[in-house]
């Protein structure tokens, strides 16, 4: 059962081969067994999950069910869920029980899915290794001495270790795709504005986007069908017709034009990663695709642009965590300024503080034009590169991450090295494009490698088709970590 796809689980539930309560309990048991080893979940609440499962079972009796009814889905701890502790990986929110549901959460609730628990993450989604979480690092199920990637590392590890069938992530600079690659699962960051950000704790508002993480493209399509949709509470949410993201899964790939950006295949990528990615491209040729070399000349500026814009927005977004109304407040303080200083100094971890300081600096009087404004201009150039490229190709492919999962602590002292793990993913967020990662082989130390697929705006259905056809032809996505 734990290796079943969402489609199989849905069929089993509807055929009453298993109840939602039984299914939920079996995942809860597995979490109880493996989470101490992996630390993928911050919060599990069997009582609340099982209550939802019981309700789902009554829905089966009444017949009003959807594809995800009764299926336990884990939620990244960045999503506010009513009655659930919602920490965002931070001490700052160690005691914050949300009084309301994020839009994504209510979409799952309406679909009858079960909230299986809240997954671990880098603090406020700032990190690429899950080591910045206040609740301790997540371990990669393929090798527990290694990181799962970040920031959605808890979700990626949980899906890879079969602690859940699928789960949610969020992606600001690669936080869905990079951990998906490092844990050997599939993950999709939709076009900016496809999933409402309401109730998703903001890191960098103009880049943040929720998306599904699972074991196959087909599962991602079912997840996205639930997660996507206009929400009037998010002004950046896009008002579009509801789509069925499974509609194109089975289209043949004949004539598909795949763009390979020469900048992504230059120095910097590990040879093991290059080998797996090139093999995947060869597979696509077999499936009928043609290859076009393209150029994204400004993508080399993505990392510096991102590390101006994202911290700028974050420094302001995180101002509300001041110890006044909720969250952590220092136990002892003098005056008001002292309360702010101590609460924030004690409540935030080092990486969050670093980014708040960078962001505060780049927005400061006298520096704004040189940093923030300049970065915004380059951001537009980066997006234009993609627009140009899509005149020649239908999807763009390349590596998701320059290397496979690295060891815990390996990059701890060098933030710039850590930031470079997202070198292939960040441009996609800056342009607002959809991007995904699917497993395409194994590299050094038998660690998974991810293939990144970047689509044009609103081309999620095509990307899922492209990924699904690969997964019909290969079995990289069905490998599971052994010996847990």
């Amino acid at each position: 059962m734990i290796h079943s796809s969402l489609t199989q689980l849905g069929a089993a539930l509807r055929a009453k081969k298993i109840s939602s309560v039984e299914l939920t309990q079996s995942y809860l048991d597995r979490i109880a067994q493996l989470n101490p080893k992996l630390n993928a979940f911050i919060t599990v609440n069997p009582e609340m999950s099982l209550a939802q499962a019981r309700e789902a079972d009554t829905r089966f009796a009444s017949g009003k069910v959807g594809a995800l009814t009764g299926i336990p889905i884990a939620q990244k701890d960045i999503f506010c869920a009513k009655g659930w502790l919602t920490t965002c990986g931070s001490k700052m929110l160690h005691n914050f029980v949300s009084p309301y549901d994020a839009h994504v959460i209510s979409q799952f609730n309406n679909a009858g899915a079960i909230n299986l628990g809240k997954t671990n993450m880098d603090e406020f989604a700032m990190g690429s290794s899950n080591e910045t979480s206040h609740y301790g690092p997540v371990k990669n199920p393929w090798d527990t001495a290694r990181v799962p990637g970040g920031s959605s590392g808890g979700t990626a590890a949980a899906v890879a270790a079969r602690l859940c069938a699928a789960a949610t992530g969020t992606d600001t600079g690669g936080s869905i795709r990079q951990p998906a690659a490092l844990c050997g699962i599939s993950g999709l960051k939709p076009t900016y504005g496809v999933c409402s950000r309401y109730g998703m704790i903001a890191f960098a508002s103009s880049l943040d986007q929720a998306g599904p993480m699972g074991r196959s493209a087909e599962d991602l399509a079912l997840m996205l069908n639930v997660m996507a949709g206009f929400d009037e509470r998010d002004s950046t949410s896009l008002q579009r017709e509801k789509e069925d993201y499974t509609r194109d899964l089975n289209k043949p790939l004949t004539g598909l034009r795949i763009g390979l950006p020469k900048e992504f295949f230059a120095a910097g990528m590990g040879s093991d990663v290059a080998q797996a990615v090139e093999a995947a491209i060869a597979e696509y040729k077999k499936l009928g695709a043609t290859i076009v070399e393209i150029s994204l000349p400004n993508s080399k500026l993505s990392v510096p642009v991102y590390y101006v814009l994202a911290p700028a927005e974050a420094s302001s977004n995180l101002s509300r965590f001041d110890g006044v109304r909720y969250g952590y407040r220092a136990p002892e303080y003098g005056d008001l300024a002292d309360m702010y200083e101590k609460s924030r100094a004690q409540g935030f971890g080092a990486e969050v503080k670093r980014r708040i300081m960078i962001g505060t600096y780049v927005l400061s009087h006298g520096y704004y034009d040189a940093y923030y404004l300049q970065a915004q201009k380059i951001r537009r150039l980066i997006a234009q590169d993609f627009t140009e490229a899509y005149k020649q190709c239908d999807v763009i492919m390349g590596p998701t991450s320059p290397s496979t999962a690295f060891k815990l602590g390996e990059k701890g002292d060098d933030p710039v090295q850590m930031y470079l793990s997202d070198i292939y993913t960040i441009a996609v967020n800056l342009a607002g494009l959809p991007g995904m990662s699917i497993p395409c082989g194994f590299g050094a130390n038998d660690m998974p490698v991810g293939l990144q697929i970047i689509g044009n705006y609103f081309d999620e259905a095509r990307m899922l088709n492209v990924a699904h056809q690969f997964q019909l032809a290969t079995d990289w996505h069905s490998h599971a970590p052994q010996g847990l």
């Binding site: 999503f79 995180l318 001041d322 400061s364 009087h365």
Partner: protein
């Protein structure tokens, strides 16, 4: 050599929307603390702002009413600073691209002293931008701690910034009053200064004529016109004294203490915040189409100056209303609406309408401490009463009694006239009989009158009125009396 005073104003007007600028929480004043603080007002993690179109509509109204440029595209920006009553740690405001651009406001200045005459002046408006209000810190009894009330947090404000075009306290007060009238006139702000719906920051500097602008100090949060005048007078004198004594004025934010009549520095420029403005990524740029502007224009009432001009043409002139009458009757939207409703009942008697409103109605309102909106007699009711004067049903003195009764007890004029029996006697037979009786009873006085003592006419009128219990139609009585006495 004299000093020249330079004053510019920043006025925060609370817009009269039912809900907040970025959420559906109520904006009603005076609720229990934090009962109107929803998730957005509290700034819970993950919540997002959604712009209230009603606030934008009110900003457009203001722009149209002042002939200002209305930006087809404006941008909301975050103004970052920490304060406990600012829940997000930033205020959503507008910075380099405000919704309303340059415009102007014409003011009537009443000089405060001397025999100087009132004059007209045009003050340029620099800009007006939308922003959210903060909550309130409450330093009451909280066991030595400070309470926070976030009911006001997120209330929509339009901050209206003028050019430094005013050169006296009188001009500043005239500008503020004109603005106050305007925002109420076009229905975008209730203008309640006690509740903080209309708050003024005044920038003051002094210089010698011909010299560059002096260093300004900003008097914050003045919520009465009287305080504004006192604060400016004090501040101007303080700046002049400081300079004349060899000192220097430093840029600062200051507060006015109404108890002492003095101003005092709150913070100097050195501790000025770096607000780190940047465009709010949670909100799209605000786009205003010309269609939207035209829709709002169609909703705009006739403005004060337009109404004044129209009344001057339609109702002014030698036998009509004076310019000061019309100024009085167009002093506020309520007043003008009241007058026009009354006038609709007796369209040929504008002067009578004006006299009643400026006389009895205003006097009673003053006496009872009420404003026009609280007038116990509706304009329609007053119009009904004036119709009865015009058609001779009641006399002027009878009307005063009807008016007093309506004021105290309510009801329409006709019902009061009926109940009190105030209907005038216009039956000539009845009046003749009455006059005949008086002539018969006062033969000596009649003889005196007929021998040329014309002044006795009033004596006869008095007797006749008394005999009719005040109900005789005075014009008719005059005619009949004159005829019979001379008969």
């Amino acid at each position: 050599m004299t000093w020249e005073i330079v004053i510019g104003l920043e006025v925060h007007t609370q817009l009269s929307t039912n809900t907040k600028i970025f959420s559906g929480a109520s904006t009603a004043f005076g609720a229990e603390p934090n009962t109107q603080a929803d998730a957005v007002s509290i700034a819970l993690p993950g919540v997002l702002p959604v712009l209230n179109k009603g606030a934008v509509e009110r900003a457009i109204k203001f722009g149209l009413a002042t002939g200002s440029h209305i930006a087809p595209r404006s941008v909301f920006a975050r103004k970052n600073y920490f304060y406990p009553d600012l829940p997000k740690g930033y205020q959503i405001s507008q910075f380099d691209l405000p919704v309303v651009g340059q415009g102007a406001l014409t003011i009537q200045v009443e000089p405060l002293s001397g025999n100087a005459k009132p004059y007209e002046k045009t003050v340029r408006i620099t800009r007006a931008h939308l922003e959210e209000d903060a909550g309130k810190s409450m330093h009451g009894d909280f066991h030595g701690m400070t309470g926070i009330d976030l009911n006001r947090a997120g209330t929509p404000l339009l901050e209206i910034v003028s050019e430094p075009d005013m050169s006296s306290a009188a001009e500043a007060v005239a500008y503020a009053k004109t603005l106050h009238t305007l925002v109420r006139w076009i229905g975008i702000c209730d203008g309640n200064m006690q509740e903080g719906s209309f708050r003024c920051d005044v920038n003051v500097s002094v210089r010698k004529p011909g010299q560059p602008l002096g260093t300004r100090r900003e008097i914050k949060n003045l919520n009465s016109f009287k305080f504004m005048q006192q604060a400016i007078d004090y501040e101007v004198q303080w700046q002049i004294d400081t300079i004349e004594n060899g000192g220097k004025v430093h840029q600062a934010t200051i507060l006015f203490n109404p108890d002492t009549g003095e101003t005092r520095a709150m913070r100097s420029k050195e501790d000025a915040h770096d607000y780190r403005y940047f465009p709010d990524p949670d909100l799209l740029p605000l786009e205003i189409s010309s269609e939207w502007i035209e829709q709002v224009r169609a909703m705009l009432p006739e403005l004060q100056q337009q109404k004044y001009a129209r009344f001057m043409i339609e109702l002014g002139g030698d036998s009509g209303l004076s310019s000061s009458d019309i100024r009085f009757l167009t002093a506020s939207r309520e007043m003008a609406d009241f007058f026009e409703t009354v006038l609709a009942a007796v369209p040929k008697d504008a002067k009578m309408c004006a006299n009643w409103i400026m006389g009895e109605v205003s006097a009673q309102l003053n006496r009872d401490g009420l404003d026009m909106a609280q007038c116990p007699i509706t304009a329609r009711q007053l119009g009904g009463m004036l119709q009865r004067i015009a058609d001779g049903t009641i006399s002027n003195s009878g009307a005063k009694e009807v008016f007093r009764t309506m004021w105290a007890e309510g009801g329409d004029a006709d019902a009061v006239i009926e109940a009190k029996g105030l209907k005038q006697v216009s039956d000539s037979g009845a009046i003749e009989a009455l006059v005949d009786e008086i002539i018969a009873d006062n033969a000596d006085k009649v003889a005196e009158y007929r021998s040329g003592k014309d002044k006795l006419f009033g004596f006869f009128v008095g007797l006749a009125m008394k005999a009719s219990k005040g109900k005789a139609n005075p014009a008719q009585l005059n005619d009949i009396l004159k005829k019979k006495l001379e008969g």
